[in-house]
Amino acid sequence: MQLASQIGGSVTNGLAYFGSLASLGGRAAYYTFVGPFQGKPLRVQRAFSQAMDVGVRALPILSLITFFIGLILALQAAYELRRFGAIDYVSTAVAISMTRELGPLITAIVVIGRSGSAFAAEIGTMKVTEEIDALETMAISPVHFLVTPKFLAMIVMLPCLTIWANTLGILGGSLFGVTQAGFTLHRYIANSINALFLRDIATGLIKSVMFGITITAVGCLEGLSTGAGAEQVGRSTTRAVVMSIFLVVVVDLVFTALFFFLTDH
């Protein structure tokens, strides 16, 4: 009985959380797509500076990580493939697993660590210092002012970062290919490109847009629901990171399954 009520409680909480996420996302979508036609201009400048933070400043660390991931993938794939004398397929294996799965996922996780946590901390601190209240008393919507530029920046930058990550991953794989598997760089890249269908890249990019929406919604929602006091900001930030990683994996699963069943085999 108690177990049932506990499960019920968790389900209700989960649904309520999902509802808040959807409501926040919906309001941000309103300010992005409808607001500009109703005299509520987009904050392009703020979105641009967010995009710098979310996107451009993430490039060095993202490049390094995805390059290594590509190299690791090549090593792991070669371990199995060389037993079949099929080491040429290393390029294919790396290219497909990067673009379809690991490129978007690794990018999302790097962005969660850098920006999702920063969103929660920034908005959470503003909540604690009454800056969010101040915005409201000035008749400025915090969602319009703070959240919408972040959504815009994420939706634009995450696919861009993903493309970059895919490229660096393939380059990482090529390091192994060229030094250990007898490829020339040119042939390795050409092989990778030949192996990829537009569909592989597109599904990855669609997922990355969904990841961007998820990360922003969770980060901002955790920030906005911060309680009083400095330690609450820390709690919100932690929750934002954990919830984002979890939900990104869920979204990944849903969309991967969707793409699997929608494409004819």
């Binding site: 009454e130 800056e131 209240d133 101040a134 008393t137 000035m138 008749a139």
Partner: protein
């Protein structure tokens, strides 16, 4: 449909509260508050910690939704209007928060100019002039390029007042204007409030627990205790009041010491009674 303002309103009243009740979760914080704020007066809301005075202020500016009751500001009941209408009222009020609540990522100038940039179509050069004017009014000329973190506590409060003044509000709210300031700086903020009142005939509502400051700036005072109004009147009337609760607050008498075990038990049970009472009322 615009509701008619009820007859009981003083034509001078700019803000009227009628039986205002506010809950945090299950707990009722304000138990039916009613009073009027007259145009051009400075009303000081006094009360100890946990008396509900800050909740009252937050409700007045629309940050908390009342459970029941009415808040009439400029002829509109803000407890029952849409967010867009509330925003229109909010453009005519200014609020100075306890810690200033300046945006840390913007300069002082950008902070003050923000409401103007958001709500008006003024040229940037005009906004610059207005912003200097507002900073001058609060004695912060020349500080527009400073970041809030570079300002002292008193200067932050002044900058927050400048931001609250940006839209030339009719009503100005202050949350604990002298909290965390040394007596000299606090006196300076009191002086600023008095100057604003005299210069612009602004209606000012101040929440504080500082008696000295309250006597100095108030035209009228409201004393709140445990979510109820204890007394309301001019500073002189409050000084002369013989009501025990008023005397206790104004003479700064500590809560009666607990002498015997029985008293202690009684005190505990009295405190506990409040939430359960409000729970009963709801069921």
């Amino acid at each position: 449909m615009p509701e008619e303002t009820p007859d009981l309103f003083d034509s001078q009243a700019l803000i009227s509260l009628r039986d205002l009740r506010v809950n945090y979760g299950d707990r009722e914080i304000l138990h039916g508050i009613s009073f009027d704020v007259l145009r051009g007066e400075t009303l000081v809301i006094l009360g100890g910690s946990g008396s509900g005075k800050s909740t009252l202020l937050r409700t007045l500016v629309g940050l908390e939704k009342p459970t029941s009751g009415e808040i009439w500001i400029k002829g509109k009941n803000i407890a029952a209007i849409a967010e867009s209408e509330l925003d229109e009222i909010r453009k005519k009020i200014g609020m100075s928060f306890q810690g200033g609540a300046l945006f840390g990522s913007m300069t002082v100038g950008e902070n003050v100019a923000l409401p103007l940039r958001e709500h008006t179509k003024l040229e940037d050069s005009t906004i610059q002039i207005m912003l200097r004017l507002k900073l001058e009014q609060v004695g912060l000329e020349g500080f527009e390029y400073y970041m809030p973190s570079q300002l002292s506590g008193g200067m932050k409060k002044r900058a927050a007042v400048a931001r609250a003044l940006a839209m030339d509000p009719e009503i100005l709210f202050f949350d604990e204007p002298s909290a965390g300031l040394d007596p000299i700086i606090a006196a300076g903020i009191d002086q600023l409030i008095i100057e604003l009142k005299q210069a612009f005939r602004m209606t000012i509502i101040v929440v504080t627990h500082e008696l000295a400051s309250a006597y100095l700036i108030a035209d009228r005072m409201v004393l709140i205790d445990k979510g109820n109004i204890v007394a309301i009147g001019t500073p002189d009337a409050m000084r002369a009041s013989t009501q025990p609760r008023v005397r206790q607050f104004f003479d700064r008498v500590a809560e009666p010491e607990v002498a015997r075990e029985l008293d202690y038990l009684q005190m505990l049970t009295e405190d506990r009674r409040h939430p359960s009472e409000s729970a009963e009322r709801r069921s």
